[in-house]
């Protein structure tokens, strides 16, 4: 057996797991682990704030499918990681976090930079572990990667005391079997129940108004091809939730785009009128269902998810299937091989009627109006090089990004769905660019979001990670402003941010970026073209957009999806279609 320190065993274990890059920031308790980093082939990216490390790890995981790794010290560094952990937990992002901890004899004495990291992160991780035995470091790392990437993916945290890192250990790398046996309570079900699959196929073959409701689980399960096969075999239209954008190509004739609070009218209404929802890797989030009692009230539900706790959590399925989406969807397609399928052309033409009647819409600017944010998105989209990855923060700009982009392939959309973490875009885009350096990565951000994590552009500049950031600067916390306008009688409370404070161009330049300000519609195209041509450093564009623009369609929180509000200049909503 080879003798080494716990720290060396930790880094070696990461190498054994195939880790290429660690996002992190050193400090007292994690110091021993930073020494062997110098001799390791693993690339370390030094962030400016630990939250950045967490979101970078997420961005990396979103685009590569491999777990992102963040390593930080104890106490405040660990607490700074809590938001990304929670974000990754909500969006099922595979991630491994390593935190330093005070030495074992000091634990529990309020030592310097001590906090109860496993206690604090217990409810925002899939699993966490305080590693008290130096010899168990390799097993703990193997378990962490196994847990983060199998079943329903998620973040796993290892909290490692300083003296555990300094101790001498006998290196041994546990076998697959040892890992499985060390986790007796963890046996995710991947194969769907054959009887349920048959039943799902039967419902699909007898539905006249079916909709495939595809969620982020399709992407996690690498099931985009299987989904496409199912849709094309059956001719069933597909909605892709915010987490599933790109799981089914937007330019496919069967794609209805995003459902939910700011979804397309046709996607929302098709689900409302459906007689069958085929819910794949999705969790009936309130942002999708609106009022649950009136959500797709006439539909039977086939629900496929790898997490049994999702089945029946919000909506009782008629056919629950626990399993891996790729396998189960492939099985359903097989079960349909000889089935006679109903003609859905009437259903599809009804849906295309809604699409024509209520497309995404914004009023063109009148002369002298500020930039329309939707227009900026359209130009960004149309000028984006093939394969561009889009990251976003949280708020109006996120909805416009999801609505106006045209996603044609999976793993090109990086956003914070479940937790809705403002400030996600910049660090997540950096992580995505590290994972896919050959791709163009655009971050669409709001001015409010940008101010939360912009410091990571220093990381991007110094590590030569040339991401591009489009700030849709409307000088407001735009989504909150929209709610105050619509639901609080235009009483704007604490939402004004100012377009010029900070000076975004100067700020970006100070962080080593190329920066532009765009106010005139005629400058949008040339400046985006210029930004696309920069490939040696980050670019930031400060787009001065119209603060009065609101995101439509909109289902007000808690309202029924039947009452979706379309853009005011579109005709009033057609009331319930007779079935």
């Amino acid at each position: 057996m080879t003798k080494m320190t716990g720290a060396q065993a930790l880094i070696k274990s990461l190498e054994m797991e195939g880790v290429e890059v660690v996002f992190g920031l050193p400090g007292g308790c994690i110091l021993p682990a930073y020494d062997p980093i110098l001799d390791s082939p693993i690339r370390h990216i030094l962030v400016r704030h630990e939250q950045g490390a967490g979101h970078m790890a997420e961005g990396y995981a979103h685009v590569t499918g491999r777990p992102g790794v963040a390593m930080v010290t104890s106490g405040p560094a660990a607490t700074n990681l809590v938001t990304p952990l929670c974000d990754a937990y909500m969006d099922s992002v595979p991630m491994v976090a390593i935190t330093g901890q005070v030495s074992r004899p000091v634990i529990g004495t309020d030592g310097f930079q001590e906090c109860d990291t496993v206690g604090i992160t217990r409810s925002v991780t899939k699993h966490n572990e305080l590693v008290m035995d130096p010899d168990e470091i390799p097993l703990a790392v193997r378990q962490a990667f196994h847990l983060a990437t199998t079943g329903r993916p998620g973040p796993v945290l290892l909290d490692v005391p300083k003296d555990v890192l300094q101790a001498q250990v006998d290196w041994s790398w546990p076998s697959d079997r040892e890992v499985t046996e060390s986790l007796p309570g963890y046996r995710p079900t991947v194969k769907g129940h054959p009887r349920m699959i048959k039943e799902a196929a039967r419902l699909i073959a007898s539905a006249h108004r079916p909709v495939i409701y595809a969620g982020g689980g399709i992407l996690k399960a690498r099931a985009a091809d299987a989904l496409r096969e199912l849709a094309e075999r059956t001719g069933i239209p597909v909605v892709t939730t915010l987490m599933a954008r790109g799981a089914f190509p937007d330019d496919h004739p069967l794609c209805l785009g995003m459902p939910g609070m700011h979804g397309n009218y046709a996607a929302i209404t098709a689900m409302q009128q459906a007689d069958l929802l085929v819910a794949l890797g999705t969790r009936f989030d309130d942002r999708v269902t609106g009022n649950v009692a009136t959500f797709a009230a006439g539909a039977k539900v086939v629900h496929v998810d790898i997490d049994p706790a999702e089945l029946g959590k919000i909506r009782q399925p008629d056919v629950p299937i626990v399993g891996d989406c790729r396998q189960v969807v492939a099985e359903i397609v097989r079960a349909l091989a000889t089935a006679e399928l109903p003609d859905l052309s009437e259903w599809r033409s009804r849906i295309s009627g809604w699409q024509q009647q209520f497309p995404l819409h914004y009023d063109p600017p009148r002369p002298g109006d500020p930039l329309k944010p939707q227009y900026v998105m359209e130009v960004l989209r149309d000028q984006a090089p093939e394969g561009t990855i889009l990251a976003s923060g949280v708020g109006q700009h996120q909805m416009w990004a999801s609505q106006y982009w045209r996603f044609t392939e999976p793993y090109t959309w990086v956003n914070s769905g479940g937790l809705g973490t403002m400030g996600f875009a910049v660090p997540a885009a950096i992580g995505a660019k590290v994972g896919r350096p050959e791709r163009t990565v655009w971050a669409v951000d709001g001015d409010g979001c940008f101010q939360m994590t912009a410091q990571e552009l220093v990381t991007a500049s110094s590590e030569r990670i040339p991401i591009k950031v489009a700030i849709l600067n409307n000088a407001y916390l735009g989504m909150v402003r929209q709610w105050q306008e619509m639901f609080y009688e235009e009483r704007y409370s604490e939402v004004y941010l100012s377009p010029d404070l900070p000076d975004y161009v100067k700020w970006a330049e100070a962080m080593g970026c190329v920066a532009f300000k765009v106010e005139d519609p005629s400058d949008v195209e040339p400046v985006i073209a210029k930004a696309n041509s920069v490939d040696d450093r980050p670019v930031v564009i400060d787009f001065r957009t119209d603060s009065r623009e609101k995101v439509f369609p909109m289902v007000p929180a808690g309202a029924s999806n039947d009452d979706v509000v379309v853009h005011p200049s579109q005709k009033p909503t057609e009331r319930k279609v007779v079935q």
Partner: protein, 167 residues
């Protein structure tokens, strides 16, 4: 303290015998605002595992969801929901009751009726131990109260499913 039968659910949770597991389990109830009425934890016949017996105040429709969420915990190996009719439940009670010379025989008589045991005798109080069904313990507690309960401790409830009576 007493968990009246009916509106409560007894869960028997087999977990890995290691630090932090109880916190993970109880945390799931805490974040949903569910109160744990009774709790008993001890190693099972296999020292790698412990059994956590929980009596919780959870509405029927939430039991399935909380069970599924519990099962998501990596350290949870098995969960059995125990219905009072299909399981044997026992609890242990110890109490110290004020019982000077003049009251002592009355107290001792009640202890005998319930099949309890006197484990400590002082000049003005005695300490009694009683194990049995939670309802019987409730009754005993009520009968002791007029004499003056000085201290009382009940364990959490332990339970096992009833064995099959079919041959």
């Amino acid at each position: 303290m007493s968990a009246a039968a009916g509106s409560h659910t007894t869960l028997s949770v087999l977990v890995e015998n290691r630090s932090g597991v109880l916190a993970r389990v109880s945390g799931l109830f805490a974040r949903r605002g569910f109160n744990i009425l009774s709790l008993a934890v001890a190693p099972s016949d296999d020292e790698r595992f412990s059994r956590i017996n929980l009596v919780v105040d959870v509405a029927e429709n939430s039991v399935e969801q909380i069970t599924k969420q519990l099962f998501k915990l990596v350290n949870v190996v098995k969960i059995t929901e125990l219905h009072p009719a299909d399981s044997v439940e026992r609890e242990l009670l110890m109490l110290t009751v004020a019982a000077g010379a003049e009251m002592r025989s009355a107290v001792v008589e009640l202890v005998d009726i319930f099949g309890g045991k006197i484990v400590d005798v002082g000049s003005s109080a005695i300490t009694v131990m009683l194990s049995g069904e939670p309802g019987a313990l409730d009754d005993f507690e009520a009968l002791m109260r007029p004499y003056g309960i000085l201290e009382l401790q009940r364990t959490g409830r332990v339970a096992l499913p009833r064995t099959s009576k079919a041959s």
